[in-house]
């Protein structure tokens, strides 16, 4: 049995050098007795006796070095033997580390976790107290970690507190930043006397942020175990806060409702004045838009962000009607600003139409969708929803009085005419709406986006553009001729129609 004594202050190199020599000398885990220098009758790290090399150096995966770097920081006396055992076993089975259920691997993970947790708690529970100033502000902290983690954790403090000088003292070493230079020592430090008047503000905050009606002492202790309390200034308040909580809750329960303070009445009066009726005059587009904002005619408003009303000049000659707002439109509150809106914008501009001169709206004004995972998937509105929303569309047409309306897609066609026919049967025809207004029918731009076949999509997009170009030509003609007198049946072809 060989005794191997190490300083054991969290330095991987120390263990690695020893382990490599022992391994090369052909020593098996059970032949070694790993010790900490200064413990169990040992006075210091004893140099290993010269050992003859009997085999090549061990090979380990990168992941092992990461684990070893952490495990050597653990305070457990068995850590060196465990690492050597893993090193030994890894030579036969390179995949050993991915077996989380293996006894040694599980033990190593447990230690890794403990060290990481200790590091995390150090970043959380170190409390700096300000010391008399030099050229830079200077702070000192005392902390008692479970493991040898000062060197591991010091860079965190250096990254965070770069513009001040600081020193963290612990029984397992210390770290200091002086004018930007980080120094680390593994020698035990003594507890300094620290005081800082700002602690009083912190204690005030700690006591005030605590809610006595939600006492959960166990939850607190599992995250902030008692062993840390003696170095946390705020922990001194804990017993009184706990003891006083029931009385504070009881006092709240018994309190009678007070008469509101004077300023409450003043605020209420001013609010009434602010909220006096300032709605736009009825019969205008502004009034219609305002009324639509709070529409609850169908349940679609429950799941949507907002009403997406039509957009464009109040007296546009051309009105284009789509289906319903999509995800982006629902968020932005404007029609045709999403992916289909991009296709739409491109196509109308290629067809020579200025979007700013036309009125663009949808048959249904709220986004209908269903959740698919965490996305909102478009869902086609049903006849009832279209029916409810038609009221708004009719009002828009009545106020804008367009000479030509273009219905994009079956939903728009149904909303405008009540017709559920096939789009392709009516495309290219000049139809008539009630009131004598002319109607053209085309596809919805979202349909173009859904076509998987590139060639077909290109052809359909060209067709869409041609329909829009036809709308522009027809609009120019209609501008020169007055609107024909009302014709009762919408299906009757307009004069000169195809």
């Amino acid at each position: 049995m060989h005794i191997v004594a190490l300083q054991g202050r969290g330095d991987l190199l120390e263990w690695r050098d020893a382990a490599r020599r022992l391994f090369v000398a052909g020593l098996a885990p059970e032949q070694l007795d790993w010790r900490i220098a200064g413990e169990g009758g040992l006075f210091g790290a004893q140099p290993l006796p010269p050992l003859p090399a009997t085999r090549p150096a061990p090979r380990v995966p990168r992941a092992f070095l990461d684990i070893a770097e952490t495990v050597v920081c653990h305070a457990d006396a068995g850590r060196f033997a465990l690492l050597y055992r893993l090193l030994f076993r890894l030579q036969d089975d390179g995949t050993l580390l991915s077996m989380a259920a293996d006894v040694d691997v599980a033990a190593a993970w447990r230690m890794t976790k403990a060290v990481r947790r200790d590091c995390h708690k150090m970043t959380a529970f170190v409390r700096f107290r300000e010391a008399p100033e030099g050229a830079r502000r200077r702070f000192v902290a005392w902390f008692e970690p479970d493991h040898h983690i000062v060197a591991r954790t010091a860079p965190f403090f250096a990254r965070r507190f770069a513009d001040m000088d600081w020193m963290i003292l612990t029984p397992k070493g210390s770290a200091a930043l002086d004018d930007g230079a980080l120094t680390i020592s593994d020698a035990p430090a003594a507890k300094p006397d620290l005081e800082d008047p700002t602690d009083a503000l912190w204690l005030t905050y700690y006591a005030s942020i605590f809610n006595p009606a939600r006492l959960k002492v166990k939850a607190m202790q599992s995250e902030m175990p008692r062993k840390y309390w003696r170095n946390l200034p705020e922990a001194a308040l804990i017993p009184d806060l706990i003891a006083g909580a029931p009385a504070r809750v009881a006092a709240m329960a018994q309190q009678q409702a007070h008469i509101p303070p004077v300023f409450h009445d003043r605020i209420q009066a001013r609010r009434a004045w602010d909220q006096r009726d300032v709605s736009p005059p009825p019969g205008t587009m502004a009034a219609l838009r305002e009324a639509a904002r709070s529409c609850t005619r169908c349940p679609l408003h429950c799941a949507a962000t907002q009403t997406v009303f039509g957009e464009g000049p109040d007296s546009a000659a051309l009105m284009i009607v789509g289906e319903q707002p999509g995800d982006r439109e629902d968020l932005a509150g404007r029609p045709f600003v999403g992916p289909a809106g991009d296709v739409f914008d491109r196509s109308i501009s290629e067809a020579g139409i200025d979007r700013a001169a036309i009125y663009v709206t949808n048959a249904v004004k709220h986004f209908k969708h269903e959740p698919r995972g965490k996305r909102r998937l478009h869902k086609t509105p049903d006849a009832g929803e279209i029916e409810h929303c038609r009221w708004w569309l009719d009002q828009e047409i009545a106020l804008v009085k367009p000479k030509l309306v273009v219905a994009m897609g079956a939903t728009a066609l149904f909303a405008l005419t009540g017709e559920k026919g096939r789009l392709s049967d009516l495309r290219g025809q000049r139809l008539r709406l009630e009131g004598g207004r002319e109607l053209l029918v085309t596809v919805h731009p979202a349909y173009l986006l859904r076509l998987p076949d590139a060639e077909r999509a290109a052809a359909e997009t060209a067709g869409f553009r041609a329909d829009l170009a036809e709308a522009r030509r027809r609009l120019a003609q209609l501008r020169e001729t007055p609107i024909a007198p009302p014709v009762p049946a919408w299906m009757e072809p307009a004069p000169g129609g195809a």
Partner: protein, 409 residues
């Protein structure tokens, strides 16, 4: 006599404590290597815990608790006789920096009562964030509460300096908001959340010229719902959460058990906060976000849309779907392993990694920290088949936690 800073700190942190949000994680990495003070490194740090079990990560305060709104559930509503105070933006900046230097906190969570106008209030909050970032080179975490009615330019600026923005919806239904927070406009809240999502997504696109990404609230947005103030069921609450996650890509929905407040409104009799219910809602929320459950699946088994308080929602689902079990830990796909009671996401990862090398037995699972008493009836492992257990009618009693989880209260 004017109140001291310490007295006002007491009032304005007491006024802020009913906001459950405390996260300081999920933002971009920053440090002060090239100047300034502070860093953020992925996961946030809880610097202390109060005896209410909540973590203290940020300096959570109000700029002022004067408020022109009269929301029934709120300690700062205009009709409450709570003591009022205000900080100047400079005082908040000083407190944040001095607390930060002593490693008490990760950063600032600033909220405010609404004084004068929404824009005036938002402007003051943005000023604090701007001063911290630009004048003092502060690289720590900043969470700003957003006022829905504030002008888009102010929200834009807030997103430039803050890591996270949040707008509290407070109640799951528009009707609830109308009844308890008459001055709040639910559609305005939704529009503001939609605006923040659009800003975040636009900022993620590299700009055409410089190819750099602008910064806008890199830790995303969150919200809070108060539990138990109105009559909303868990199903209603969770459906609202799903809409918020789906619609506005929220990072978190916080659930805050309604807690009695001093000088409470007569509308809300003081009751013990439903902490266990809050806990179950968080569990259900987790199942939705990380375990592939839909909200309907989670809430279907409970009566009147309420989650079972005695057993966690995953166990409730498993008991209602015994036909889907037992699950073979050595063969089942990830989605199904995630549905086994007692299996967390990390356990599932470890099971999948380990079973590539050998067939797993119960003691292997024990080493992976699986609570076997809970999971055993639902799994098949090497040398273990639970058939009889699954058929027992008293299975719920067998696997339910033995001491009812009253410790949570």
């Amino acid at each position: 006599m004017p109140r001291s800073l310490r007295e006002r700190l007491a009032i304005l942190s007491d006024a802020a404590k009913y906001d459950a949000s405390c996260a300081s994680s999920g933002t971009v990495k920053r440090d002060s290597a090239s100047g300034g003070l502070g860093s953020t490194e992925g996961s946030g740090i809880c610097h202390a815990y109060a005896p209410d079990g909540r973590c203290i990560s940020l300096l959570k305060i109000l700029l002022t608790n004067f408020c022109v709104y009269d929301c029934a559930y709120c300690i700062n509503r205009s009709s409450s006789n709570v003591e009022r105070a205000r900080f100047t933006p400079e005082e908040v900046v000083w407190l944040t920096l001095e607390f930060y230097r002593r490693n008490y906190i990760e950063g600032l969570f600033l909220s405010s009562g609404i004084v004068r106008s929404s824009d005036h209030t938002m402007e003051q909050m943005v000023r604090v964030a701007r001063d911290l970032r630009t004048t003092h080179g502060f690289n720590g975490y900043i969470h700003l509460k957003t006022i829905p009615e504030a002008s888009p330019a102010l929200i834009e600026e807030a997103g430039r300096y803050a890591d996270r923005l949040s707008i509290n919806i407070e109640l799951p239904t528009d009707a609830g908001i109308a009844a308890f927070a008459p001055e709040k406009r639910p559609d305005g809240i939704r529009r503001a959340m939609a605006g923040v999502r659009l800003h975040i997504e636009d900022a993620a696109e590299p700009t055409l010229r410089t190819k750099t990404r602008r910064r806008f609230a890199p830790a995303g947005q969150s919200t809070q719902m108060i539990i138990g103030a109105d009559g909303a069921s868990d199903a209603t609450i969770l459906a609202a959460s799903a809409r918020l996650y789906g619609g506005y890509r929220l990072k978190r929905v916080y659930y805050s058990a309604f807690s009695p407040i001093p000088d409470a409104s007569a509308q809300l009799p003081p009751v013990k906060p439903p902490l266990l219910r809050e806990h179950r809602l968080y569990q259900a929320d987790w199942l939705y976000r990380f375990y592939g459950f839909s909200i309907e699946e989670v809430t279907a088994s409970g009566a009147d849309g309420m989650l079972d308080l005695d057993i966690d929602p995953k166990l409730a689902w498993a008991l209602a779907h015994r036909g889907r079990f037992p699950v073979d830990v050595n063969a089942a796909p990830r989605e199904m392993l995630l549905r086994v009671p007692g299996f967390g996401t990390r356990t599932v990862d470890a099971v999948i990694a380990s079973r590539r090398h050998r067939r797993l037995r119960l003691d292997d699972l024990a080493r992976l920290r699986v609570p076997l008493r809970k999971a055993r009836p639902y799994i098949v492992a090497e040398g273990w088949t639970p058939v009889r257990l699954l058929d027992r009618s008293d299975l719920a009693a067998l696997v339910a936690p033995q001491a009812r989880q009253l410790s949570l209260l």
